[in-house]
């Protein structure tokens, strides 16, 4: 595997100017795609947090008389096979998507950050073992592995989040570990250690602040992938379980009635498209702002 012995390029990490704060947001808003992406992401978060207030109907309220209705003034995105309001289900689905994405990403990040710093600062054999485990986990095919786990543990949100954590953690681990390896040979870290600073102190005062930028970008770029995994597994019926509204289960329903009511699948797919595109553009814009090296030559 490429990865085990590959040494990080000996170059300075992105020279971040101060911690990302309001100035970052301001610069983010100065690029049109970044501004739009940020607005969309904020709107999605709003929908997730205030879903009961935003949604016009109860997402699980069954109304057999209005099954398979197309979009109308009362039901903007129509109704599904049980007569439930699709828009309301989409809005409540945002909540599920964020719950899974955020908890999965947070757990993976924590795992990756701690192990990455340990591998980067620790003895070379620790690094070697962790790298091997990391590469091994990355070589397991994500979706199939998830299905195998579900077949044994049964489908549930907990299983879903665990699987997502295990599949995302190696990515974070690798980024953190490579950055730490670069950083730990940088003179300011060597200087700090030569002053007698403990490893913990070095990690907190020098490593973590210099890792924040790359990690923020990585998170923004990874959330679409997590949303994809969640909706994919739910689509296969092995993720979120009905009747809870998730984009993936709704897609699954829509797929079952593809010929009868194509609007179901189309409507359930829209939020996935909007969310993934918004997060990708947000990640790109964040990287341009936080990492001057990758700025597009402007």
């Amino acid at each position: 595997m490429t990865t085990v012995e590959e040494t990080p390029p000996v170059s300075a990490p992105p020279a971040l100017k101060a911690l990302p704060g309001w100035s970052t947001v301001r610069r983010l808003l100065s690029s049109p795609s970044g501004a739009i992406a940020l607005v969309v992401v904020v709107a999605l978060v709003f929908c997730a947090v205030f879903a009961p207030l935003v949604a016009p109907y109860d997402p699980v309220q069954i109304a057999p008389r209005i099954r398979f209705q197309g979009p109308s003034l009362e039901h903007w995105l129509g109704t599904d096979q049980l007569g439930r309001d699709v828009l309301s289900r989409v809005i409540f689905g945002t909540r599920v998507a964020f719950k899974v994405a955020l908890s999965g990403t947070a757990a993976a990040l924590l795992l990756g950050l701690v192990l990455g710093i340990v591998a980067g600062l620790g003895k070379s054999w620790i690094d070697g073992v962790l790298l091997l485990v990391c590469d091994a986990m990355r070589s397991l095919p994500m979706i199939l592995f998830a299905l195998a786990v579900v077949a044994i543990y049964g489908p549930s949100m907990a299983t879903l989040i665990t699987v997502i954590t295990f599949s995302m953690a190696p990515g974070y681990f690798r980024v953190v570990r490579n950055q730490v390896l670069v950083l730990r040979n940088m003179d300011f870290v060597v200087a700090s250690q030569s002053m007698g600073a403990s490893l913990g102190r070095v990690a907190i005062t020098h490593l973590v602040p210099n890792l924040i930028g790359p990690i923020i970008v990585l998170i923004a770029m990874d959330i679409p992938a997590v949303i994809g995994i969640e909706s994919g597994l739910s689509f296969l019926g092995q993720g979120i379980q009905p009747p809870e509204a998730s984009w993936g289960t709704m897609l699954s329903d829509g797929y079952s009635f593809l010929r009868q009511a194509p609007h179901l699948a189309i409507a359930s797919g829209l939020p996935v498209i909007v969310a993934t595109i918004a997060f990708t553009f947000l990640g790109e814009a964040l990287r341009d702002v936080l990492d001057p090296k990758s700025s597009r030559g402007r």
């Binding site: 795609s33 091994a136 070589s139 994500m142 199939l144 195998a148 077949a151 994919g232 699948a265 990708t280």
Partner: protein
Amino acid sequence: MISYVLRQVGLSVGVLVSAIIILFSLIYLVPGDPATIALGPRASEQQKIVFRQSMGLDQPVPVQAFHFVSKLATGDLGTDLLTRQPVLRLVGAALPKTVTLALTGLGWALLLGVPMGCISAMRPDSMTDRLIGLVSTSVVALPSFLLAIYLLIAFAVTLRWLPAMGAGEPGDIGDQIQHLILPAFAVGLGWVGYIARLVRASLLETLQENHVRTYRAFGVSDTRIAMRYALPIAMIPVVAVIGVGLGNLLSGAVLVEVVFSRPGLGSLAHDAVTTRNSPVLVGTVLVTTLLYIAANLSTDILSALLDPRLRKEA
């Protein structure tokens, strides 16, 4: 070069062994009673015993591990709980179909993505570059199965231009190709964006390097510098990243297969999970893991062919 290859092979074997260990521990070392978890609390004791016996769970862990590995070593991936067929045969039959789909997707993505990235990098910040950037960033994170559903609705259900389901009649190449178009498009589209962005970033960086200035100072044309001298360097990280991304490619292909009801690993796994047929799933995971590691080994060797600096012994 030989020692480089030997070392990569050694590392690959190490990764494979570790992957098997991880898989074994996650699947067999379940906290609590795996049978209860898998079958639910309402399962009868008889069902649980059958489950345990079929999975070999009634034996001590080291014995289980030994059985697991020794069976693997002989190519025995267990038997299908329902049909009693060897898992290896089932996976073996499904694998080529999935690989065909994945490679077709990757292939057209490369054919389109690499030139797109080059055009972008040659004229950074031009209208063309911005357009390519917009398109590739938009498609890069779209889940391929979602794309597949939309394609199905548009081209198979509504327009009826292309067939919707299956992989085509065996032996009828034309029919098979027709059945391959939509799934391959769905699998590859995100990769077009991914590759275009990678190539653009990598080529732009290479074009900043000092040796490019040397060639310009000798009057070599910009196009020739970019294509003959910069692109091979720019492709080195791209090849490595593609290798790592092959896992996502397979995952995408698996889901797309389910959408189009194509036979393959996806359908095999999907059917197996609904019937809780774990040996089939574990077998599928193992074979794809092996495939992934082998593919990565080849991208490593390809990288070394592109970059003489890698070949020298560290």
